[in-house]
């Protein structure tokens, strides 16, 4: 029923639903339709329940809008106003398009989670099919223990997606192609442009300043690629390039990065130097030159390249660590280093000094849980171990003496007589006992059960076992019964178990009995069913 406080966003007259004329109302939280002349709504759906909307193609005579719910049902509205049908429908469609996404998130999350769990775990999926689809237990009971906290977790967690980083080679990927006549073609995609802007905010700044007032985009990029800023050797920066400022800014930025250094106490970059090993095995006379003036031309161009390289890498890393930065944020850069990057975040390492002072777990005294000391009073019990008491044959000492004397007498003159070890009758009787079917070979006639029963039956048995286990778990978790809710649940579970037995176990048992006549198999199954389930 429509409450008076609901805000009506759109009213569309002459909308037919199920061949009945009526009016469509789009409200703040739901969409409703009421037949002509009546006050009540016959159809009402919350936006949260709607999965998607569909419209009939433009060429069709009937202008329709269909709402598909999460539960699979669908409702179709036919816009019957001759003149404004299409307009009405478009209006309704656009409003829905704006509203649906707001409500979508809540319901979907749970469903998504459930779907994901079912997809990831085939055993769970099978269990779900066996129990819920065949209506042995309801879906809420099934999910009661499993979801445990989907709705409780911080929704912000789900919004966290990993941001795509910047490829270090994005500039190199713009491979220039020869144009045929002394020109070069650079292919710039939106991705590359974005990477350039993220890595070099100075370029972005220039872009914002100049385009579209002074230069077109194409011109800007042409100049960019022509500038020495882009090319490897930035030796002559004195030209009237709009990018010469960028170069200067980069220099500044690099210097400040170096000055800042690395705040990690475990890393000591200053002890790294270029040490040249001379012929004297490390003893070299002249000090390595660090001042610019002593450099040769070649050295200085190498130096420039390496410097450029380092700067580029640092920028790429810094850009990657700037999370969720919006384009309008440029003005508020609180960089402590240079205008180019927010390196303050990046260069703040975890406080390792504190960690060093922390005690290492391994070196501490072990805190073992308290145990009971072993104090055996009757240790002779272990001497014979868990072996049953066997009736000892009591021999009198006279017997013993007699036997010993007898055997000593016999063995005193022992001579091996190897030709008389076996007689043929004895040997043949032994062989017959050992042949298949003989006395000693009886046990082998029984095949293993798992060879006699095909794998589908085994699989079905496994599913039944798992399903029965799940039901029993629900049943036993109700004990001890101290609330009326648990009491109800116990009764319900009992009826569930009975239903399970009726719908699943009995038919399975009968199927086995019909197909596999071997008594062993039937006996085994019925015994298992009896023991396990009851």
């Amino acid at each position: 029923m429509a409450s008076l406080s609901e805000e009506v966003l759109l009213v569309v007259k002459k909308v037919r639903q199920r061949k009945q004329d009526g009016t469509l109302y789009l409200m703040a939280e739901r969409i409703a339709w009421g037949p002509e002349g009546k006050d009540r709504f016959t159809v009402s759906h919350l936006y949260a329940d709607i999965r998607c909307q569909k419209i009939s193609p433009d060429g069709k005579a009937k202008v329709q809008l269909q709402l598909v719910l999460h539960s699979g049902e669908s409702t179709t509205f036919h816009f019957a106003n001759e003149s404004t049908a299409l307009k009405d429908r478009e209006a309704a469609k656009e409003l829905l398009q704006q509203l649906l996404p707001k409500f979508k998130k809540k319901a979907n999350k749970e469903l998504e989670e459930k779907n994901r769990m079912l997809q990831e775990d085939p055993v769970l999926f099978q269990l779900y099919k066996d129990l819920v689809v065949s209506q042995v237990i309801s879906a809420e009971e099934f999910w009661a223990n499993r979801l445990g906290g989907v709705t409780n977790t911080d929704p912000a967690q789900y919004k966290y997606k990993q941001e795509v980083g910047i490829s270090g080679a994005f500039l190199a990927d713009i491979r220039p192609q020869t144009d045929g006549c002394n020109g070069l073609r650079y292919n710039l995609t939106a991705d590359i442009i974005e990477s350039i802007f993220r890595t070099y905010p100075a370029v972005k700044q220039k872009y914002n300043e100049n385009v579209p007032h002074n230069l077109t985009e194409k011109e800007f990029w042409t100049r960019f690629f022509q500038s020495h800023y882009f090319h490897r050797d930035r030796i002559n920066t004195g030209t009237q390039d709009i990018f010469s400022e960028c170069a200067k800014q980069d220099e500044k930025g690099l210097k400040s990065m170096v000055v800042q250094g690395v705040k990690n106490p475990l890393v000591d970059l200053l002890s790294l130097e270029d040490k040249t090993l001379d012929e004297g095995y490390g003893v070299c006379g002249a000090q390595p030159s660090t001042s610019n003036s002593n450099r040769t031309v070649k050295e200085s161009s190498n130096y420039a390249i390496i410097k450029r390289f380092n700067h580029h890498s640092a920028m790429v890393l810094a850009a990657g660590s700037r999370k969720g930065e919006t384009p309008t944020d440029q003005a508020s850069e609180t960089s402590s280093t240079d205008g180019n990057s927010r390196d303050s975040d990046f260069f703040q390492p975890p406080v390792k000094k504190v960690k060093l002072q922390e005690e290492y777990e391994d070196l501490q005294q072990e805190n073992r849980p308290k145990t009971v000391p072993l104090n055996l009073k009757k240790s002779d019990r272990y001497a014979h171990g868990p072996v049953p008491l066997q009736s000892q044959q009591y021999t009198t000492s006279q017997d013993i003496i007699n036997s010993v004397n007898y055997i000593q007498h016999e063995m005193a003159n022992y001579k091996p007589n190897l030709t008389q070890v076996l007689s043929s009758t004895v040997a043949t009787s032994a062989i017959s006992a050992l042949s298949p079917g003989g006395v000693l070979m009886q046990a082998g006639a029984q095949q293993a059960i798992n060879q006699m029963v095909p794998s589908e039956v085994q699989g079905e048995l496994k599913h039944l076992y798992v399903a029965a286990g799940e039901l029993l778990r629900h049943f036993w978790s109700c004990f001890p019964v101290n609330t009326p809710f648990l009491e109800e649940k116990v009764i319900k579970m009992k009826s569930n178990l009975e239903r399970f037995q009726l719908t699943k176990l009995r038919p399975f048992q009968e199927k086995i009995q019909r197909q596999y006549l071997s008594t062993n198999v039937i006996l085994l199954f019925s015994q298992w069913l009896r023991d396990w389930c009851w």
Binding site: H384, P388, Q390, Q393, I401, I407, L440, M441, P480
Partner: protein, 290 residues
């Protein structure tokens, strides 16, 4: 036959309990210790004849100790060339005849020397098995036990240690039982992967040994041999020594009981068990009229 010169050792442990064999000789004169030893020699010879690299050892397990019948300390190998003891008239392979003579000599010594002292009537099988394990260290070996007398429960611990050591070293233990079933040997065979056989006819011992126990592990997979028997692994409770299927185990000393008792009698640990909560009957509250 395998092409590589892998040494394969067969250790035969023979139970020569004089009391049992003395009684047996009086019960059944056609099968005595002499006959048994003859059969053992036949198997030993056959094993050595199968391949040149096969080796044999025979241990006699007595009530008081265990002796190596072969190879014995008095065996000097080739030094005995020309000795009339080693030359038997039938042109036998010399190694075999030497072995047989040595075994015979040693067993005579063993049986005549033993003065019966004390009242132990049990075979020291665990010790013999331990000796057998030690002798089979550097090579592929297996142990064949020919058991006559009954099990001795007092050797249980040692026995189980030996069995697990054999399992770790991949040494098979086979058992050929003459008289009464032995649970310990059944376990030994099951754990190490050997064969257990209780033979119905003692006089046919030689045939059984040749048929079942002569082939080694790889050859056995190609043969149809008696299937493994079902081993009863049920433990016996410490209080009554009855075999139980479900019992109570003390978590401190691991002793097994058939009934629950709040104090373990072996280590005197007291256990606190939470009894199920009693649901008190609720008094019905009278509803106040609103």
């Amino acid at each position: 036959m395998c092409a590589d010169d892998e040494v394969s050792l067969l250790v035969i442990v023979v139970d020569v309990n004089p009391i049992w064999w003395g009684q047996q000789a009086q019960r059944e004169p056609e099968f005595t210790l002499s006959k048994c030893l003859d059969a053992v020699m036949v198997v030993g010879n056959s094993h050595m004849a199968m391949a040149r690299t096969n080796k044999l050892a025979v241990i006699a397990s007595h009530c008081q100790d265990s002796h190596f019948l072969f190879p014995s300390k008095s065996w000097r190998g080739a030094d005995n060339g020309g000795d009339d003891a080693s030359s038997s008239g039938d042109g036998k392979y010399e190694l075999l005849s030497v072995a047989n003579n040595l075994i015979a000599e040693e067993i005579r010594n063993v049986m005549s020397k033993s003065e019966y002292k004390g009242n132990s009537t049990e075979t020291l099988l665990a010790g013999s098995l331990a000796k057998a394990l030690c002798s089979g260290q550097e090579m592929k070996s297996r142990i064949l036990v020919i058991k006559a007398a009954e099990d001795c429960a007092r050797q249980y611990m040692n026995f189980m240690n030996v069995i697990f050591a054999a399992q770790k070293q991949n040494i098979l233990i086979d058992a050929c039982v003459l008289d009464s079933d032995s649970g310990l040997l059944q376990q030994a065979c099951d754990i190490t992967g050997g064969l257990y056989l209780k033979i119905p006819q003692k006089v046919a011992l030689g045939q059984y040994l040749l048929w079942v126990f002569l082939p080694d592990l790889e050859q056995r997979s190609q043969l149809v041999l008696p299937p493994p028997a079902h081993v009863d692994y049920r433990a016996a409770c410490f209080c009554h020594r009855n075999l139980i299927e479900i019992g109570y185990v003390c978590s401190v000393c691991l002793s097994i009981f058939c009934n629950f008792s709040p104090i373990c009698t072996t280590c005197e640990t007291a256990f606190k068990i939470q009894l199920p909560q009693m649901v008190k009957p609720k008094k019905k509250k009278l509803k106040q009229p609103t």
